[in-house]
């Protein structure tokens, strides 16, 4: 598209493709290497590993502190998913369908948590929640994450609602369906894939995020990311490679499922 067909491949072009290929490799290699190292049988992080084993995964599952952290993370992410999806769906419906003044400003307002640096949101919520409930509350962390996930949910759902043919709803109305029936029978099935995938992204946002729990977790409700953080402040522990691979798997699952949902959708 860019190059002209008649042009011969010069040295410059080769160099360009070389740089691009190298950058692509740099983007993916660290994640792949950590995944490989996580199956190493060695005591330290050598690459390539001398042999393969599941020792780091076994160690991870054997330590109660880490198991508890995983459970906390799953709880926080699940509550975040439910809250952010519900609230994001409401906001998307209002923003795409509604006709009221100042919609652009409301849109910017809903997306603003994405713009404000997370460290600021985290510190502000810390000052706020410490006065209200203290630290260590799973619900407080989930509510904080809901704020961060809301813009993502709205972006995913709103873009689908945008492409939605509202004449389908008109048709249902004119055939005598009530507002609720129309929503249930027409709107929901059409936007369901987008809503589900928005929910998955909300889950991922929470599961991955460190700063809100770093300030709000206290000692009693550490999430997995906080535990990784505390561990990395001390040393580069090989076991973290196994935990990291778990994060990568969760990411791939979310991306994979939402790609399937998009294909199944309109």
């Amino acid at each position: 598209m860019i190059g002209s067909e008649g042009q011969r491949t010069g040295l410059g072009t080769l160099a360009l493709y070389g740089v691009a290929g190298l950058v692509l490799l740099l983007l993916i290699a660290p994640i792949v290497i950590v995944a490989i190292v996580s199956f190493s049988s060695a005591e330290s992080l050598t690459f390539p590993p001398p042999g393969f084993s599941l020792r780091w995964y076994e160690r991870f599952l054997a330590l109660p502190g880490w198991r508890r952290a995983l459970w906390v993370s799953v709880q926080v992410a699940t509550i975040t998913m439910v809250l952010a999806t519900l609230l994001g769906l409401l906001a998307s419906l209002a923003l795409v369908r509604g006709r009221f003044r100042g919609k652009g400003i409301v849109y910017a307002f809903v997306l603003s948590p994405m713009i404000v640096p997370t460290i600021i949101t985290a510190v502000a919520l810390y000052f706020f929640f410490v006065r209200v409930v203290g630290t260590g509350s799973i619900l407080a962390m989930a509510i904080g994450h809901t704020v961060l996930a809301l813009p993502i949910v709205v972006m995913v759902i709103a873009s689908t609602l945008q492409g939605f043919d509202s004449r389908l709803e008109m048709a249902a109305f004119s055939l005598g369906a009530g507002r609720l029936t129309t929503f249930r029978r027409i709107t929901v099935p059409i936007i369901a894939p987008a809503v589900l995938s928005a929910g998955l992204f909300a889950f991922l946002t929470s599961f991955d995020e460190l700063l809100i729990p770093l300030f709000l977790a206290g000692v009693e409700a550490e999430t997995l990311s906080v535990r990784i953080w505390n561990s990395l402040l001390l040393e580069v522990d090989p076991m973290i490679a196994a935990v990291s691979t778990l994060f990568v798997v969760v990411t791939m699952l979310v991306l994979g499922i939402s790609a399937l949902l998009r294909r199944a959708g309109p």
Binding site: S4, I33, L90, R99, F247
Partner: protein, 299 residues
């Protein structure tokens, strides 16, 4: 617009059935908006405003926390280092990201989609995991040092981790996808016919690029650079874990003041400065790259 404005004024509602329906519709949508708006107001706006208020109020209105920030050399050093790090990361991202975006945009659709996944995947992997990955690679006995040693390029391992170099590598890696995706989205909108026309008029590949493609891709370059720059300014996780003891950036100072010295007003003043710079930068970004186009909703 004018008709819409008249309808929004409550008292004259009810003149025609159409207007009644429209007003009811508007109320319904505002009602839908209420729960998310309440969440954002109470759990986001109010705490952030509280933080800003705390930076100027202690036993009466005061600017002393800001004065301290701009008067003491230690803190000026932090601001300068933050700025310098962000600028370096931005340049690195440009140098690495622009060629990749350029190549991607010229590829056949199928391959392009596949390679875009490679760009996007790291973007969705937890930042702390990506930081860990580079800590593994850059350690004294890590893959990079081992490789360089085997190639006899170095005798002693380089101090790649726990140094400024480490922080720069980690941050560049984390922010590169933003540069590539921003540049790509602008390049994708460039009419390939213009470049072909330049060729047919006798321009060489380089000349056509420099005279036609490069200027047209400028909003992508500028947008990507602004985005990477403002995001670098607030970075915490990567420089804290990979940087050296002297690589103190503003976000790390904020955390330090909150958790250790417990000087909350000063931490708030730092946060306010960071927030202001970020918002100004983001405004510039939104002028250059039409963000709304990605999730069009303001009609």
């Amino acid at each position: 617009m004018a008709a819409d404005g008249a309808g929004a004024a409550a008292p004259i509602v009810g003149t025609t059935p159409d207007q009644i329906a429209e007003a009811r519709d508007r109320r319904r949508h505002l009602l839908l908006l209420a729960p998310p708006a309440i969440l954002l107001v109470f759990i986001f706006v109010y705490p952030v405003l509280g933080l800003l208020g705390q930076s100027v109020y202690k036993d009466g209105i005061t600017l002393r926390f800001y004065q301290r920030l701009f008067a003491e050399p230690v803190y000026l050093d932090v601001l300068w280092l933050t700025f310098r790090t962000a600028a370096t990361v931005t340049l690195l991202c440009l140098v690495l990201g622009y060629p990749l975006a350029y190549v991607l945009v010229g590829l056949p659709a199928r391959l392009q989609r596949l390679l875009l996944i490679v760009v996007v995947l790291p973007f969705f992997v937890s930042l702390i995991v990506r930081t860990y990955a580079w800590m593994v690679l850059l350690g004294r006995l890590g893959l990079v040092n081992e490789l360089l040693r085997k190639l006899s390029l170095i005798a002693e391992p380089l101090p790649l981790l726990y140094s400024t170099t480490g922080a720069l590598i980690g941050m560049t890696y984390a922010l590169l996808p933003f540069m590539v995706l921003t540049a790509f989205s602008v390049m994708k909108g460039i009419d390939g016919g213009l470049v072909r026309a330049a060729h047919s008029l006798g321009a060489g590949r380089w000349q056509a690029f420099r005279k036609i493609f490069l200027p047209l891709s400028m909003p992508g370059i500028a947008g990507g650079m602004i985005l990477v720059f403002i995001m670098s300014l607030g970075f915490f996780i990567t420089p804290r874990l990979m940087g050296g003891p002297s690589d103190l950036m503003i976000a790390m100072l904020i955390e330090h003041e909150v958790e250790l010295t417990l000087n909350w007003p000063f931490a708030s003043a730092l946060a306010a400065v960071l927030l202001l710079v970020t918002l100004v930068g983001f405004f510039a970004y939104s002028r250059l790259v039409r963000l709304e186009r990605m999730f069009e909703g303001t009609r």
